[in-house]
Amino acid sequence: MAIIIDENTRLIVQGITGNQGRFHTTQMLAYGTQVVGGVSPGKGGQEVEGVPVYDSAFAAVEAQNANASVLFIPSPFAKDAAFEAISAGIKVLVIVTEHIPVHDEMEIVEYASRNGTTIVGPNTFGIVSSGKCKIGIPPNQFFIEGPIGVVARSGTLTYEIVGNLTANGMGQSTVVGLGGDRVVGLSFVDVLEKFEHDPQTKAVVLVGEIGGNAEEMASLFIKDMTKPVVAYIAGKSAPPGKRMGHAGAIIERGKGTFNAKVEALQAAGARIATLPFEVPDLLREVIG
């Protein structure tokens, strides 16, 4: 088992003929993902790494019975591409693109929710059900199968933590990147809920950061979870009012502070890693 995606996921790549799309198609194929088609208007009929290219997502879904898509599309055109995927019946849509205007993001998320499509991102590294399917951009070598569910707001930091897990022999069920923007499709709670019901997952690592109240909301759910949660929150040393790279990572009007998040998570029973490399040890403590 795993959550959201697995070995039956049939992926199309929107923007497959661009540099990013082409490179990561190769990487995803190498990981074992079933990349069944690509979309690039005007380039239907071509192939990229042996993957057939279509003029529209509708054509790709029709021909390949795809159920997931990943966007490598520049931000001004991302909303159009996302709506296309959702209209075409895609059920899991991973939006890697960063710098999408937040009003576009709200519209994408609303339209997806009305159509029953799960949005991963925007501004995410993607999602990996280790050993089964990778959608997005993380380096392949660090993701091995195992019992740890990981859910995170940021990318490289997650590789760091997953790399540590793997180095410590702790594989992952699914690793989900929510995305670094203020408005993203999945929340911590959505993912925690799925991990709670996933038989493969024995413990969960939550990688949060300052800003917003996603971690506080998560703690309300963690309180009632049967599975242990280890959390790391980035940004302890960040000053208020400054956006730390991610649109969502900003302490405004005294809200979204490191302390508030850590206190909420601790009160809910989560173990807190003060620094990223402490995660494996804490996991060992909670799953024995």
Binding site: E110, P139, T156, L157, Y159, I210, G235, M244, G248
Partner: protein, 370 residues
């Protein structure tokens, strides 16, 4: 991007929201002239991107041109909340019967815009008790209709013409918010003057990511010189004032690097997300930026995903060749093309760390050495 009060008010006005008569000026002479045009008592307001301007002496009333000239001169001479004053807004003084609060911003957890309104305006909304605040989410596929304004007006305790006018205002404010790709539009206070509602102040933040399609919104610079250079390079950069210059790839990783340095007793000079997939040239430019912070040590923390370790190593060597790097560089390098990268560094006499915390500890040790 935050807009000055006067720009926000110009936008409000163009959407049909009533604002006081007034004009932006940059000199005491102009202030006197505008005051004369307006007549009666005017208010001279410093245009800086900060709140609580009144407390810093950044807002003054003036009767007539002469007083306005003096007020303008005195405000132009000071700094308000740490900001140098270069622009003033000279406005008619309006009759204030009551002050309301209204704002529209983005609620990330609801993934929707949220309208926040209160009958207790004129103070920070954080200081208003919850029971006096009305919150209401907006369905972006529906927008804001007058009925929502009527309902919020009712919950604010407004009646009659004032309620009707609030119901007219709210859809205009939402249109403003949406059409201008705003992250925040705030009117505080929204002044009741007779039956009229007047936007006596404006806070207006436009989504940076949407500036490409908001060409007619005047650009307002709110970055330090280095931050601006970083922005022009497409890098996220924040000055922090310490003595360890930091570069990492990824926002979370960068924050984690800062946290680790602080944990070991260090003091970071900056936040710098070199991004994913920044090539050799971008990395070289990022390094140049770091040197401008005059650090005692440079800490580079790379977990290569899209970013290739050999690119980072080559960039470092390149910068070293073209200019003196006057401080030690501590570099941690793992991930994509790690072996190639480490070899390049070693060939040039630079050690590469594999473990983040060891590298961080080393950087702190150097920075804190006498």
């Amino acid at each position: 991007m935050k807009l000055f009060e006067y720009i926000g008010k110009e936008i409000f006005s163009s959407f049909g929201i009533t604002v006081p008569r007034g004009k932006m000026v940059t000199s005491p002479e102009e202030a006197a002239q505008v005051a004369a045009e307006i007549g009666g008592t005017v208010v001279v307001k410093s245009q800086v991107l900060a709140g609580k301007r009144g407390k810093g002496g950044g807002i003054k009333f003036a009767s007539g041109a002469e007083e306005a000239r003096e007020a303008a001169a005195s405000i132009l001479a000071i700094t308000v909340q740490g900001h140098k004053v270069e622009k003033l807004l000279v406005e008619e003084k309006i009759q204030i019967d009551k002050e309301l609060y209204v704002a529209i911003t983005i609620d990330g957890s609801a993934k929707k815009p949220v309208i926040i309104a209160s009958s207790q305006g004129g103070m920070d909304i954080e200081d208003v008790p919850d029971e006096h605040i009305v919150k209401c989410h907006v369905d972006v596929t529906v927008g804001v209709y007058p009925y929502l304004g009527r309902e919020i007006a009712r919950r604010m305790g407004l009646t009659g013409k004032q309620a009707a006018n609030f119901a007219k205002l709210l859809p205009l404010l939402y249109k403003c918010f949406k059409d201008k790709d705003a992250e925040l539009v705030e009117i505080n206070p929204l002044v009741i003057s007779g039956d009229i509602l007047i936007a006596a102040d404006s806070k207006f933040t436009v989504d940076d990511d949407a500036l490409y399609r908001q060409k007619d919104v005047p650009y307002v610079e709110d970055r330090t010189s280095i931050e601006k250079q970083a922005h022009d390079l497409g890098l996220a950069f924040v000055e922090l004032g310490g003595n360890i210059a930091v570069m990492a790839n990824g926002a979370g990783m960068s924050m984690g690097s800062l946290d680790t340095l602080v944990h070991y007793g260090g003091s970071p000079a900056n936040f710098l997300d070199a991004g994913g997939g920044t090539g050799m040239e971008g990395t070289a430019k990022a390094l140049e930026l770091l040197l401008q912070t005059n650090p005692r040590v440079i800490f580079i923390n790379i977990f290569g995903g899209i970013t290739r370790c050999d690119d980072v190593a080559n960039a470092l060597i390149q910068v070293k060749k073209t200019r003196e790097i006057p401080v030690p560089v501590v570099i941690r390098l793992v991930g994509t093309n790690e072996q190639e990268g480490v070899k390049i560094l070693n060939d040039n006499g630079i050690e590469a760390y594999k473990v983040m915390q060891e590298a961080a500890a080393k950087a702190v040790e150097i920075a804190n050495a006498e």
